[in-house]
Structure formats: structure tokens, C-alpha cells
Amino acid sequence: MTFLNAWAVGFAGIAPVIILLYLLKLKRRPMPVSTLLFWQRIFQESRRRAFFQKLRQLFSLLLHLLIFALILGALAHPTFDRQILEGASTVLILDTRARMQAVEAGGQTRFARAKAEMANVVHEATPMRQMALITADATARVVSPFTDDEKGLREALAKTAVTDAGGELDGAIKLAGELLRSRRGERKIIVYTDHPPATQPAGLNVPIDFVPVGTPRDNLAITRFATRAVLNSPQTSEILLEVANFGHETAKTNVELSYDGRLLDVKPLTIEPGGRAMQIFPTVPRPGNTARGWLTARLDTTDALASDNVAYAVLPVDPPKRILLVTKGNWFLEKLLGADQSVAFELLTPDAFNAALASKFDAVLLDNFVPNGFDLGTATGNYFFIKQTPFNTSGPAIDQPLITDLDNRDPVLRTVNLQNITLLHAAPLAVPKDGDWKWQTPIRSFEHPLMITGERHGGGRRVAALALDIGDSDLPLRVAFPLLISNTLHWLAGDEAAPILSRRAGEALALAPGETVRIDAQTPWKKSTATGPPAIAHDIFEPLTNGFYEIQAGDGSHWMAVNTFNDAESDLRAATATPETSSPALPAISLARVTGWPLWQYLAAAALLLFALEWWLFHRRQTE
């Protein structure tokens, strides 16, 4: 049993008033008369029955109280729980996409207007008119399941926030349809958005009302902002910036480029209506090891949607690879590693080498040295053997080998040119037959492999072997030498697993085991949006706000930039013009159709019968 109008119980306070009116003596109109002779004769018989008159009064009071209680019960609208299931069901969909942040002519955002409109509808939630609340951006989320708790719905609505993510409303509408599938009675979907979809999902047999909350607006937006390392100059990066004009007039603006909060460059832009301007900022120095690499672009303009006037990017930050060089003395290798800022090497003689040290470095470079009892299957660490390798065969050395085959797709040979290299000797190598490893021979001399690279299946360990004596060739004098050594060391250290530096708002990111992300975004102007302890994502991270996010891993952290970058979100010209929006009609409640008369009608009928009885007993004779 549920009382749909619980507020009616408040009327119970009238009951003491009814009793008080009975207790109070009736104030009668005084009227002088010449004689009471005739009145006394009339009531002579009535006085004899004064006792019964008092009983009649008490009975009248009880009847009135009973009638009052029945009316009170009818007002409270008692309903059996099984009837509530037959009530109307409404799913409210609130568009929380980035475009809802657009400011309308009155200074109110579309999202604020949508919330205000929705609040008017939520106010009508009753057990017979239950409502559910869904937000729609990149994904659809059920903020509140079906409930009659108007206060709960209002609180859930108040907690909703607009996002920087793009997306479609179809998913939310389909989700609403699924929620309504199990509901009986009248059903309806009401969508609060600035841009209703052109078509509705197929197979949806639920009426949909769209409440448009936006008018067409011009907008200037950054649609692309990306960085990449310059291959020929690992210490520098290139930056690509694209700005689109989703308006009807030519836009002139300046774009400001900042690096870690410091202004880096300002470029003027002039963009035709519907056009785009692309700007490239070359040779931006890559950050040092202690920098965050935050790169921001800001348009110096004020338009309807402010969130797409700022874009975020992260310059790649490469921590130096830890290399252990084991050699009896190799002037070329020592100079090469010392000049490479991307590596930090330590020098060790073969006598001092201990296999346990290998796990502390990203790669171990062994110059003409193979540790005693070296077993590739049990050894830890990544190894780069030069001249003496575990894969050397007992065959004779190859004299003046010609490099005949180069696999340029192999990462160790990226931008490496080995043409016209003069080699005096090369050790004969044999590719192992170990099935747990994947072997490659990027450099070959006819059928003889001159270089072998292997990677254990499932990752984790790598090995490379170069069957050359550096001193017996002119390779150290070539540009290819440092590139080959550096590529190989970076490949061994896992260089190709570059971290994810950029994501679109609303895109889900699967975190590796051990990785965590603080959910609140940071920007150079706003360090954190969280007021309490920071919320941490562990498995799946779906950023909904533009900015920088720090991804924590076991051995360090790196930053990731999140942007909207969605033409559909930035193009505000397609909004449906609605100067005045009327509240949508809620679905009707039809109890009688399913369950016959509601209980309150029985109570009202009983009150009517008692009322007629009271009239017949106490008033009939006086009014006949």
C-alpha cells in the first residue's frame, strides 16, 4: 500500500477543529419575542428526550469524524503496489555533450536551460508517474533508475554536469527504450538537447519528445592540435594546429602557444566562413627530463563555445635509457654513448660483469664478450652482442662480406644507410631454432646473417647480435653507426612502446596493469577540479573533461592530453531555433484501464454514503 499524496495527511490537523466546533457552544442570534408560550409547548416533548439529543449529537460527531477520515483517505490517494506498476513511465535524457556548453544570447548555457526545463518535469514525479534519468555524451549513463522520489531525482539532476565529450544521442535513446521495455502503462522518452537527431532508432515503439534548448550560434574552434617528434632530430618536435570557423562571417583571431604555462608563440589567423586554417610550429625543443611537456593552444576570441577555444597536447618526454657497456676498451662506443643524450650508460670491464646486473639496465651492450655459461633461456635483461655472440658458429670467419639484404622495416635499421660499408671480417652466425623466440635477420650477406634480433614471444626480453668487428670496418666513421647502435639499444630498451599522449574526451582508455589515472583534469590555469581525495581510475579510464591527466605507472608517470576535437560538437549552427519552449506533456496515468476503480474512489463513495446517512438522520426533517 502506497499513499500517492502523502501531503494530504497534513489535513488531519483539521480534525481537532471539528471536535472543537462541537464542543463550542453555537452562537445564536438573539431575538426578543413577546412570549415563549408556543415555543415551550412545541419543545415540551423534546426536552424529555434531552438525553437522547446528547447521544444524537455524539453520534453526529462520530459520523462527521468518520466522513472526514474517509475524505482524508481519498485525498491521500492510497494505491496498491501492484497498481503502481501500471503507472506512467518516463525516461528523461539530458544531453551532456560538449556543445551543450554553448552560451545562448541570454547568457545562459544550453545545459543550464536544459536542466531548468527538466527540473520542471521532475517536479511531477509521483509513484504513479515514475521517471528515470539518463545523461548522453560519448556514452549513455543511467543517472537515476525509475523512481518516484522527486527529491532524489532533483538531487541526481543537480549532480549532472556537462562534459567536453562528443557523441550521438542514439545510444541514450536505445538505452531508454531498453529501460522502458519492461515497464507497463504509458511510456515516454523526453530528450533535452540542442540538436535532435535527424532520425530515430529503428524498432523503438516509444513516443519521443525533444525539448530543444539552443539557437544557432557562430563558433570558432581548434579542431586539431598534435605533436610528433622529428625523426632526424629527436630533441625537437613538430606541432600541428588546425582551427575551423563554424560561422557565417570571416574570423580573425590570434592563436597563442604556451609550453608549461610559458608563452611560446603567437600567430594571427584569418579564416573564411566554413573554412579552416592549419598552422605548423616546427622545431619545438622537447622537454627535459623534469618537464611535464604541457603544450596549450588558445584562441584569442570570445564565442559561444569556449571549451574548444583551448587545446591541449603533450610533447613526448623520453627518459634516458640505462645502458651498461661491457668492454675491454672501445673508444668508438664510449664516445657514441657519451654523446647520445637519450641514453645514460655505465662502463664495466668483462671481469667485473655479473649477470645479475643486467636486470638493472634497459640494455647491456657486450663488446666482444660473452659471459661464461650464458644461457639465453635463463638469463635476464636485454643484450646486444658485438663480434662475439652466443650465436657464433664454429665455422670460419667471413672475409669482406657484402651487405646484400637490408630490412628497412626493422626498427633497428630506421634511417640507417649501410650502403658502401667496407667490412673486413664477420663472424659466422646461426639463427637459433628456439621456438619461444621470434628471430629476425635485418642485415644479411647472402645466406649469412650479419645481424640477428630476437624477441621472446609474449614480450619482456630482447636480444641482438652483430657479427662485426667495428674496428675492422669503416662503419664507425659513417653516420649509420650511431644510428644503428642507438636504434638497437632503444629497440632493446623497448623504445617502440611510446606512451599514449593524446585522447579525445569520451574515448575509453584501457590501462595496463599497474597503471592508474587521477580522474580530475589539470590545466596550467586549473590544477585540479577535485575537492576531496582524488578519484583514481584503475582499469578503464574515460576522460570527460579536456585537460591534462597524469598516468601513473610502476616505474614513473607521463601526461596525456584530452581534447574534444569534434566538428559536430563545435558546429553550433545546426541547433534548432526555439525562442520559447513549452514543457512536454507527460504520459497519462491510466489505472482504471488495468485495475478498475482506484481505492480512493471507494473511499469517496463511502464518504458520500455516510454523508447521505448523516443528512437523513439529522437534517431530513428540517428540510423536507
Binding site: 442570534r29 431575538m31 426578543p32 419575542v33 413577546s34 412570549t35 415563549l36 412545541i42 428540517q622 428540510t623
Partner: protein
């Protein structure tokens, strides 16, 4: 245009003798002339004290022939009927009736119930009506050389005016009526009439002007008067609103005589019962008077005064 102030031979001051704000007592000259043509009827013949115009059982010297008797020595020879002597050769003397005056008493109920008038009504009170009737009848009596007396009563009989005779005494009657005392207490008709019958040594015509609202009943007093050989006329003075009250709802009725309050929720059906009680009371009063040879007439305050005197009382065989 009606003349509202009396003219000669009725003194002008008479017209204002009973004039009050509530009950103007104006007799115009036409009305007074009509009153002089009237005569208070008495079925019985009473012995008078003075010669007057009313027949009596006494043999006197009026022009009205009464009887013959044998001549005896000492009789006036002018009274012998010589025509009879011529035919019968015997001497007979013609006897004539003695016309005498009549004692007429007006007993006015001056209780509070008679002074009551309905709220918001513009009619005169029953007491004023009774005073005007009494004044009119007294004028008729005085004009016919009868002796007129006026008494007020409520719970008991008050001091009377004293006997007045002749139209010249009308001023005295009016002044007495005007200065009627405001009597308190419940009406006690039988005690008042008993006192009256004991006080009056000569019998005569008695007009009782009252609403008869005596909690102990009106029958005993009227029957006593009738038993004491008075010729009694009852003028039942009533107000239409006390016969047919119209107020409904929750009322607190306050009796004018005793101040007793009675709470009533008046409805249409209750009023109908009230009407039935009133009708039964009126029928009972009329039947009682008829049964005991008492003249009875209803005089409500709604009936115009002239109609009341010239038509109602005439129809009630009280005046001719």
C-alpha cells in the same frame, strides 16, 4: 388630501394626546364624526346612575313607551291615556322607560409582551394599538353620555382613571392613556380581572384589550367577569409576526416579560408547528368567548386602525 389633525368640535390637543414617536395617535375630523355615529352595544340592560341615552329597566320620563298601569291617586294627570279611557271607560296611566347611562370599563394589558414589537418592523406595538382602540371606544362612550373608566393591568390591576362622562372628559381619558405606566412581570389575567370585579360595585360593559398571553391561561379571569354579570368584550390584540414568525436558523429567543431565553434552531417545519400552535390558541380563545357569551374580535397591528374600528369591531357586534 387627508386631514391629519382633528378640527372642532374635537379639540386639537386631543389629536396629540397619545401621540408618541412610536405610535402617533391622530384622529382626523372625519373619523371622529364617524365615531360619533357609533354606539357601544350591550346585550344586557344595566341600572344607570344618571339619566342618559341608554335604555334601562327603570321607568322614567323618556319618550320610549314602556307599559300601562291603573291610575292611582296622586299620579300625574298628564300621563293618563285618554284614548283608552274613551274606549274602555277606565283610567290607565302610560309608563315610559327611564334612559340611563352605562358604566364602560376598558382593561388594557400593559405588560411587556404588549409593548413588544418585531425587530426592524415599522408597525406600531400592540399596546399602542390597544390604546388607540380604547381611546376610540371611549370617545364613542363619552359621546353617548356613558361613564367611561380605564384600567391598566399586567401581573396585577393598577389604579384606574376614574369614571368620566361627557365628551369634555375625553381629554382626561387621552391623558391617562398617554401616561400609561410601564408594567413589569408576567401577565396574570385572572388575578387582575378578579381584582377588577371586586373593585367595581356597578356592573357594566367591560372591554378587555390584551394578547391573552397568560402562562396560567386566560379562561379563568374571563369566566369570572362573566359570572359577575359583566358584559365582556375581548379585543385580542396581536402582531402578525408573532402569529407567523419568519426568522429561521439558530436563534436565542428572549421573552420580553420575564427575560427568559430559549434556544431554538428554527426551520420551516418547526415554524409550521409553531403556526399550528398559534392557530390552536386563537381558535381556543374564540371558542371560549363564544361559549361564554363574550364578544371576541382580533385586532392585529397590521390592520389599518380605521378599518379595525369601523368594520372589525362592528362585525364583532361590539359597536353599532
Amino acid at each position: 388630501m387627508a386631514i391629519t389633525i382633528a378640527v372642532a368640535p374635537f379639540p386639537a390637543q386631543f389629536s396629540r394626546a397619545l401621540e408618541t414617536a412610536a405610535a402617533p395617535l391622530l384622529f382626523d375630523s372625519d373619523f371622529l364624526a364617524k365615531l360619533e355615529q357609533l354606539y357601544l352595544l350591550s346585550k344586557k340592560l344595566f341600572r344607570g346612575a344618571h339619566r342618559a341615552e341608554r335604555r334601562s329597566r327603570q321607568i322614567g320620563s323618556s319618550l320610549e313607551f314602556a307599559d300601562y298601569r291603573n291610575y292611582t291617586l296622586g299620579d300625574d294627570l298628564r300621563s293618563i291615556d285618554w284614548n283608552i279611557y274613551g274606549r274602555l271607560d277606565r283610567l290607565f296611566v302610560k309608563l315610559f322607560e327611564q334612559e340611563q347611562d352605562l358604566d364602560i370599563s376598558f382593561l388594557l394589558d400593559a405588560s411587556a409582551s404588549m409593548r413588544w414589537s418585531p425587530e426592524g418592523g415599522n408597525r406600531i406595538s400592540k399596546f399602542d394599538q390597544a390604546r388607540r382602540i380604547a381611546a376610540s371606544l371611549a370617545y364613542i362612550g363619552l359621546a353617548n353620555l356613558d361613564r367611561v373608566n380605564v384600567h391598566f393591568f399586567a401581573s396585577r390591576l393598577e389604579e384606574d382613571l376614574g369614571l368620566c362622562r361627557g365628551k369634555s372628559q375625553f381629554h382626561k381619558v387621552l391623558e391617562y392613556l398617554r401616561q400609561a405606566p410601564g408594567l413589569e412581570g408576567a401577565t396574570h389575567l385572572s388575578a387582575s380581572l378578579r381584582t377588577f370585579s371586586q373593585r367595581m360595585k356597578r356592573r357594566g360593559l367591560v372591554f378587555v384589550l390584551s394578547d391573552l398571553f397568560d402562562p396560567l391561561g386566560f379562561e379563568e379571569g374571563l369566566a369570572l367577569l362573566r359570572h359577575q354579570q359583566f358584559e365582556v368584550h375581548v379585543i385580542h390584540v396581536l402582531d402578525p409576526l408573532e402569529m407567523r414568525p419568519e426568522a429561521t436558523g439558530d436563534l436565542r429567543l428572549i421573552e420580553s416579560e420575564t427575560g427568559e431565553a430559549y434556544e431554538v434552531t428554527a426551520s420551516e417545519s418547526l415554524l409550521r408547528r409553531y403556526h399550528a400552535e398559534v392557530d390552536a390558541f386563537l381558535q381556543k380563545a374564540a371558542a371560549f368567548c363564544t361559549e361564554h357569551g363574550i364578544g371576541y374580535a382580533q385586532a392585529t397591528t397590521a390592520v389599518p386602525f380605521e378599518d379595525l374600528v369601523l368594520r372589525v369591531l362592528r362585525d364583532g357586534r361590539m359597536i353599532q
